[in-house]
């Protein structure tokens, strides 16, 4: 046991209702994420995991419910404002800037921390150059950390899928976030890439002290590295707790009976 539940609550999600026409994507969902946790959201396809991350990052606005981050009610704040508060994310389907280099993609993560306006930028030499170098240094640390030095000048659209996922993680880290939302970071990766990604997530959490909300289908990984998790089915919570508690919960087992059980509950 890690005892993460004793730490202060960083993100409180209460009674979230999200509908798309007749489809109830999230029905009264609530949970709390504590400072410094790895918190996972699991459930079958279409359960509402991505929708939940979208509500937290500001892509979707729920019809009912509140989301509180470090004491701020962010439920109806624009995404950009949440980025400034320290919420970063990656996407299930890669959402990079395809025409830009790896470095420039990651530097977008520094956007809110930089100041140069149009005029300074156009003149470049002087304060703007100083700022660019300073933030380049910050970004190079992340590049080293994620072991993508060899591709830093490549155009992102030309990279292999696994590398693009890594660049997306780098971009999110460049924001210097307090909370990072990862939507299926291991999907489509081979074993070696998956192992690297697990190592990065653990380091992000332990060395950088960033809270992680993880959506992932690889149950081996989820049960290994999560402090706590929630289980969703059709937009509703059917289980919550530590990996051990969730694996023993009768509703969870009931929802994943039969052949699926072994797949869902891990190795």
């Amino acid at each position: 046991m890690t005892g993460s539940a004793d730490r202060p609550i960083q993100l409180a999600v209460e009674n979230i209702n999200l509908r798309f026409g007749g489809v109830m994507a999230l029905g009264g969902l609530g949970f709390s994420v504590h400072q410094g946790e790895i918190f996972s959201i699991i459930g079958p396809n279409g359960a509402g995991k991505t929708s939940m991350l979208n509500c937290i990052s500001g892509r979707y606005q729920p019809q009912r419910g509140t989301i509180t981050f470090e004491g701020h009610d962010v439920t109806h704040r624009p995404s950009a404002a949440r980025a400034r508060l320290g919420i970063a994310r990656t996407f299930q389907n890669i959402a990079l800037y395809k025409g830009m280099t790896v470095l420039d993609n990651i530097l977008i993560g520094r956007h809110i921390h930089m100041k140069s306006g149009l005029f300074r930028g156009g003149l470049y030499f002087g304060p703007c150059q100083k700022e660019e170098i300073e933030h380049r240094r910050f970004v190079e640390d992340i590049v080293d950390f994620l072991e993508i030095e060899h591709i830093r000048k490549r155009i992102v659209g030309t990279l292999a899928y696994g590398l693009q996922k890594r660049v997306e993680l780098a971009r999110a880290l460049a924001l210097n976030p307090k909370l990072i939302l990862l939507d299926e970071p291991m999907a489509g990766m081979n074993l070696e890439e998956t192992e690297d990604m697990v190592r990065f997530i653990m380091d992000i959490n332990q060395e950088r002290g960033i809270t992680v909300i993880l959506v992932e289908h690889d149950m081996g990984v989820v049960m290994d590295i999560s402090d706590r998790l929630v289980v969703l089915n059709f937009g509703e919570k059917i289980g919550e707790g530590t990996p051990e508690e969730v694996q023993a919960a009768p509703e969870v087992i009931k929802a994943y009976l039969g052949g699926e059980q072994s797949v869902f509950l891990g190795r």
């Binding site: 995404s79 977008i108 660019e132």
Partner: protein
């Protein structure tokens, strides 16, 4: 002897971030600029005057490339924004008695303000719908040019006084050329710098993936508006210089065909490319002139069908543009990069 690096062994980030990466490129660019400044000394007034119009087109094309090529917001109003610049520069000089050096930036800012207003629909509209909205801007401004007689002279047009430094007036072909060339080089440098720093990255992020740009804290509405107004600012400067070049400005020059010409420049030159803006401006300025010369020559050989051939000119113009879109969809800038890559490795093709 090697003239360019094959590897990437920069010692500092400052070196790594330089625009011209090798001494060879720096020298080549320096010599090219020197050539541009000395051309009038050994060429005809016709050449000097053509190069002046190219320099003006480069500034306008850089502007529309910022909004359309780099930020991904289509604009069909660049011609009208040039008109705003030209008329307001002339107005500030004639009526407010400001020197050109104050009137030109003021005209740029006027165009930028109006560009920002007409950029407002970009908050809600995309693609073709935004194109139609900017087309509306074009027609509204055209109407204003024709009817705001006090400022624009209506359908008669209005004089545009020459810039002066002390008792020296920029009214000769050469002095006008030097002025516009210097402004164009300044615009190229400013744009290059803008695009390699914070705001430029934000523009491209908005173009490539607006949702994830917003999630990273880039304010979409702000950057779309900024791109429209920066683009119009360039148009305003280009328009002011057009006034200097012709000495007399009239609304006909700032109609929809001018806007389409600028859009064609960046499509042919290369969307989202500074070099492409330059190449497109050169191409679209020289093509009609080459066609005039070419069809003129043909007409003198076949005098009987001469008139027919001359009237084919616009058709040929259109066909060349269509062929370009089919065979060089990434623009001249792409071809330019291929040639550069080829020479870098020459004589090895791998």
């Amino acid at each position: 002897m090697s003239v360019s690096h094959c590897g990437d062994f920069k010692e500092t980030y400052r070196d790594d971030m330089k625009v011209f990466q090798t001494p060879f490129v720096r020298v080549a660019v320096g010599l090219f600029v020197l050539l541009l400044y000395t051309t009038p000394l050994f060429s005809s007034n016709y050449v000097t005057s053509t190069m002046t119009t190219i320099a003006i087109a480069v500034i306008g094309a850089l502007g529309i490339n910022i909004v359309t090529g780099f930020t991904g917001q289509i604009s069909l109003g660049q011609g009208a924004f040039m008109g705003v610049g030209a008329f307001s520069c002339s107005y500030f000089m004639r009526v407010a008695h400001l020197p050109f050096w104050v009137a030109m930036p003021a005209a740029g800012l006027t165009a930028a303000a109006i560009g920002m207003i007409f950029g407002l629909p970009s908050a809600r509209l995309k693609g073709l719908y935004l194109a139609i909205a900017t087309l509306a801007a074009q027609f509204i401004l055209q109407y204003v040019f024709m009817h705001l007689d006090a400022v624009t002279g209506g359908s008669n047009g209005i004089p545009s006084p020459p810039p002066e430094i002390g008792s020296f007036a920029f009214d000769g072909d050469r002095s006008k050329y030097y002025l516009t060339l210097t402004m164009a080089i300044g615009a190229v440098a400013f744009t290059t710098n803008l695009l390699r720093s914070r705001n430029g990255r934000a523009f491209i992020a908005v173009r490539d993936h607006h949702l994830s740009a917003e999630i990273m804290g880039v304010n979409l509405f702000k950057y779309r508006l900024i791109s429209f107004s920066v683009s119009a600012f360039y148009a305003g400067i280009a328009g002011s210089l057009w006034g200097v070049y012709t000495g007399y400005i009239s609304a006909e020059h700032f109609m929809i065909d001018e806007s389409i010409k600028y859009l064609a420049m960046i499509i042919i030159g290369g969307l989202g490319s500074v070099i492409g803006s330059i190449l497109g401006a050169i191409f679209m300025t020289l093509l009609p002139q080459a066609l005039t010369v070419g069809t003129g020559a043909l007409a003198s050989i076949f005098p009987k069908i001469g008139f027919l051939i001359m009237s084919f000119k616009d058709g040929v113009f259109g066909i060349i543009i269509i062929l370009f879109l089919i065979f060089e969809p990434d623009g001249l800038a792409h071809r330019w990069r291929m040639i550069k890559a080829y020479w870098k490795l020459y004589p090895f093709s791998y």
